[in-house]
Amino acid sequence: MESNGRSLVEKSLIARGISRRDFFKYCALVAGTLALPTSYGLRVAEALEKKSERLPVIWLELQDCAGCSESFTRAAKPSAADVVLDLISLNYHETLMATAGTQAEKLREDTIKVGGYLVIVEGAIPSSEGDIYCTIGGKTAEQILHDTVKNAVAVVSVGSCSSFGGLPKTYPNPTGAKRVMDLVKDKPILNLPGCPVNAVNITATLVHFLTFGKLPAIDDKLHRPLFAYGSLIHNNCPRRGHFNRGKFVREWGDEGHKKGWCLYKMGCKGPVTFSNCPLVKWNDSVSWPIGSGHGCIGCTEPDFWDHPLYLPVKIQEVSPPAFYPAVGVETEKPIDATSVAVTGAIAGAILGAVGAAAVTKNRHSKDGNGQSSGES
């Protein structure tokens, strides 16, 4: 890493006036978010520093609200996280790119031709009435998706719309909205649901891809990365203690609400929602919905808009015996070695005595007969 400023990272650091120390700290943080050991922080940093070429990225916006793009680009101040953004080449993004019209579409097609790019999809794909609800440059959303995915290395769906259909798919689903997983079958797909998606999870996914050359580990059913969507909000919730003690907010603004009690009764979906919100929070880890007194709406779960926002959910995902004693567990006193030894010795002695008596029976029987005949 000499001072000629060849590496992308170093250029970026100089341009933003960020120290290398901060960069390393950031890498360690991302490693932590990815649930990697601390030592991986250095590996991540090394891997990123070695990059001399940017990763081409096509960001498709279909039936979306650009909320996820907002979330992704939101930064209160220039930070080490922005460095990661300098490591990708965002070749196509309707909202952010300067070009428009044919020029813009050509950029996308050129990228596709070269290949080796990453596709990020934001928004659901309409399917009813001949896909008329979302067309760009005369092409329907589905066509665009298929064309773009053709030569991609992987597909990342950001936000609930592309991951699970989101708001467009909510009943009665007039556009016949579909998720990416319904249409793309032959590429590795990773879903980063959320309404919007947490920017930390996008950068962490990108860092993982840049460092290891593949997408992070996902669950089989919903294709969500385990590092971010591996545990229930409920299980990491700072208000969990109140849940366990039965201290619930029963009305907005009541005593319990002021004291920060559990929001379950107010319809909090934390007990059924998988997300790392309680850990990474939002707005540069300033706060998050439950932290500010509103229940979780469950935005990282499929079809969350279809559930009444302020009605309590049925808790399903629970795992004995870590959190609840399982049926059939009985009070047991652990058996110590001394008891076993003593009991064994005594049982052995008794059995031995009985056995010995049985064996010696014949030896004495004659003697006994003789004696008995002498009596009476």
């Binding site: 009985e330 009070t331 047991e332 006193k333 058996i335 110590d336 001394t338 008891s339 076993v340 003593v342 009991t343 005594i346 009985v354 008596a357 049985a358 029976k361 004495h364 029987s365 003697d367 006994g368 007969n369 004696q371 008995s372 005949s373 009596e375 009476s376």
Partner: protein, 376 residues
Amino acid sequence: MTTIVKPVNARRSISIPWGHIFLWILATLGAVVAVYRLFYGLGAATNLSDGRPWGLWISFDVVTGVALAAGGFTIGFIVKILHLKRFYPILRPTILTAFLGYVIAASSVVLDIGLPWRIWHPLVYQNFHSPMLEVALCVMTYTTVLALEVSDPFFEGMGWKSAKRVVEVFMIPLMVLGVVLSTMHQSSLGTLFVLASKRVFGLWKTGYLPLLFFISAVAVGLAMTILEANFAASAYDMDAEQDLLGDLGLYAAWVLLTYLVIKISTLVGSGGVRDLWSGGINNVLYFVEVIGGIILPMILLFIPSIRKSRKALFRTAWIVVLGVVLNRLDVSFFGFAGTPYIPTWMEWAINISMISAAILFYDFFVRHFPIFNNEH
């Protein structure tokens, strides 16, 4: 008749003082452990738990011990009520051992109940629907009855003629009372396990348990009498009354036959037959108990030559006793449902120490008071 007989000269026991010393050590150890149990509680001294509320003390000392002490009322009935005076020589030693057996059972109960200083509560608070109350009151009363019966040779030995005369007046009513009380609580011990039938293994689970317990108590009472006569004969240089014992053996055979018939028919009646081949240690124990503990000694006792041989009769009586012991332990210990339980060394120590103390007391009493006295 009322002449004071000189104590039997126990030459042999003097020549082996080591046995006494050993027994004294065991008895003292148990006394220390008993104090520990009183000051630190049941949880500290025993391996009992909520999943297994009754353990060694109840199964072994109370349920089994009371059965083994059945010789007292059996021989009392034979001698004093049936007027079979020729069995008189073994009346006193048998009643003495029965008394000691009940003292062991009562002491165990004192240590086993959670609040030993409330042992008198059954005299004041009663629920007459409880078989446990019946057992408690009967054991209390019968121990007193036995103490009075034992006081006869005691007063004789001390030379307190007037006291002895008073006891003699009450001797017959005491014997009648002893028979009534024994019938009641020997069977009620079975009733205990009818109400607790959830925990009793299928092969022993029957509503006729009280009847079975009573009949087997009679059988074991006869067998214990045979054993005690033999012990005493060898330890104190006396003749065993072989013809008497042989007759007792024949009675025992008939009782065992009755027991067997009822046991098998109740097994069929209660539907326990389907558990016969269900596999597991309980099935093995059942077969050992029925074939080895009932059928085998029954056949042996029906053979005249075996009844005539002192050794053979002695050993057959042992089999009867072991068979009934196994039965009681099967019902209340081995086949008793609950979480895994192994007694602690302290539970064993108390058990063994009480038996040691009983042997020491027996030895002392026999040597200083007219127990083995053929004149009356």
